[in-house]
């Protein structure tokens, strides 16, 4: 319980411990702690930045998507219009073509009819003449009555 030389011994021990701690223990540990703190802070910052980037990117995506949708709608609208127009034009052209074909058919039919009629008339004339000739051969002279026959032929 007395104060004695232990005091000196303890003081020396204390001084040595403090020196050792100051030299070999404290600096590496505090350095590691500070480095880790910095690392964690950096990591958190990076995370925050990434979060912001992500939000920005998402916003951009939404905008682009909206724009794309709009464009798509426009394109569809345009193509519908164009399709309708093409259909209309084609219908029109079809009509015209049909009419043209029908008209030309008509013409052809008319021309054929005329030709056939002309031929028939000629054949009937010949037939009539030959019939009349046979009748007249029996009764009258061919030359004397030819004017009447010609008149008849002209009337056909």
């Amino acid at each position: 319980m007395n104060i004695n030389a232990t005091l000196i011994g303890q003081s020396i021990a204390f001084a040595v411990f403090v020196w050792f701690c100051m030299k070999f223990v404290w600096p590496p540990i505090i350095k590691a702690i500070e480095e880790r703190q910095k690392k964690i802070a950096d990591g958190l910052n990076a995370g925050e930045r990434a979060q912001k980037d992500l939000e920005k990117a998402q916003q951009e995506i939404a905008e682009q998507l909206k724009e794309a949708k709009q464009q798509a709608a426009e394109i569809i609208e345009q193509s519908k219009k164009r399709g309708a127009k093409i259909v209309e034009e084609e219908t029109q052209r079809g009509h015209e073509e049909r009419e043209k074909i029908v008209a030309s058919g008509h013409e052809e039919v008319t021309a054929e009819r005329n030709r056939v009629r002309e031929e028939l008339r000629k054949q009937v004339a010949v037939l009539a003449v030959s019939g009349a000739q046979k009748i007249i051969e029996r009764e009258i002279d061919k030359d004397a009555h030819s004017d009447i026959v010609e008149k008849l032929v002209a009337e056909l």
Partner: protein, 265 residues
């Protein structure tokens, strides 16, 4: 209780006696020196292991624990001591952990180590009677330890005062405060000296008083027979707080004193 042949007084006295070698002032309390140095080396060795391997990567469990203590001390220093100083933080760490470990010896049941030492000394032939072996295992219940610490801190207070204020500034502070008049210089000097000397005295006596009282109560509890078990447990639980708090107070006051010494009023 060690043996039936002791009276309670003898038992208590035996527990409070240091193992001393030498006579008079030059006597040395071998047990105090042995346990404190052992604990100091244990502290430095275990912390040094962490320091050697420390990196900014993922820390191990022990490293985490050590870093927790280091950071706690570092924060305490940063809160109280403004300015840069390479010594104060490691000093505070050493004080905190070393005193804590020395106080922790108080929680080892009071008879274990002394009894082991008694019979060990007897069987090894150092003494003829086991009761001649004295072993006080809590270094902070020895005034020599607490005063060694507080006087070292006191020396640092003087050194820091002179370092930061100069001899002139320190002398001024000692003689011109609290009454700033030349005629009152002697009064001031007496007051300031008392203030200054009260710091190491209170540091040492507070730590010693708390631990000595705690130790004494452990010894008294050890004498009450079977009921000592719950009583010992209760007091030990309470004592965990005391030993930590005392280590913390010693560290904190050291930081505060040194910060006062290194700054103007």
């Amino acid at each position: 209780m060690v043996s039936g042949e002791q009276t309670p007084t003898q038992y208590i006295q035996h527990h409070l006696q240091n193992w001393t070698v030498g006579e008079g002032f030059w006597a040395v309390n071998v047990d105090t020196i042995f346990w404190s140095v052992l604990l100091g080396v244990l502290f430095l060795w275990s912390f040094r292991r962490v320091a050697k391997k420390s990196s900014a990567g993922v820390p191990g469990k022990w490293q985490c624990f050590v870093e927790m203590i280091v950071e706690f001390v570092d924060n305490s220093v940063k809160e109280s001591f403004h300015g840069k100083d390479k010594l104060i933080a490691p000093l505070a760490l050493t004080i905190f952990v070393w005193i804590f470990l020395m106080n922790l010896m108080d929680l080892i049941p009071v008879d274990w180590l002394p009894t082991a030492a008694m019979y060990g000394g007897y069987w090894l032939g150092f003494v003829d009677d086991p009761h001649d072996v004295y072993m006080k295992v809590v270094p902070t219940t020895d005034l020599n330890t607490t005063f060694a610490l507080s006087i070292s801190v006191f020396a640092l207070i003087i050194i820091y005062s002179i370092k930061y204020k100069g001899v002139k500034g320190f002398a001024k502070e000692m003689t011109l405060t609290p009454f700033n008049h030349w005629a009152l210089m002697p009064v001031n000097f007496v007051l300031e000296s008392i203030t200054l000397l009260a710091k190491p005295a209170s540091l040492a006596l507070r730590l010693f008083g708390n631990l000595y009282a705690g130790e004494l109560i452990f010894i008294l509890i050890a004498m009450i027979g079977l009921f000592q078990l719950p009583a010992h447990f209760a007091w030990a639980v309470f004592h965990i707080l005391v030993i930590t708090l005392q280590a913390f107070i010693f560290m904190m006051l050291t930081i505060v004193y040194l910060s006062m010494a290194s700054s103007e009023h």
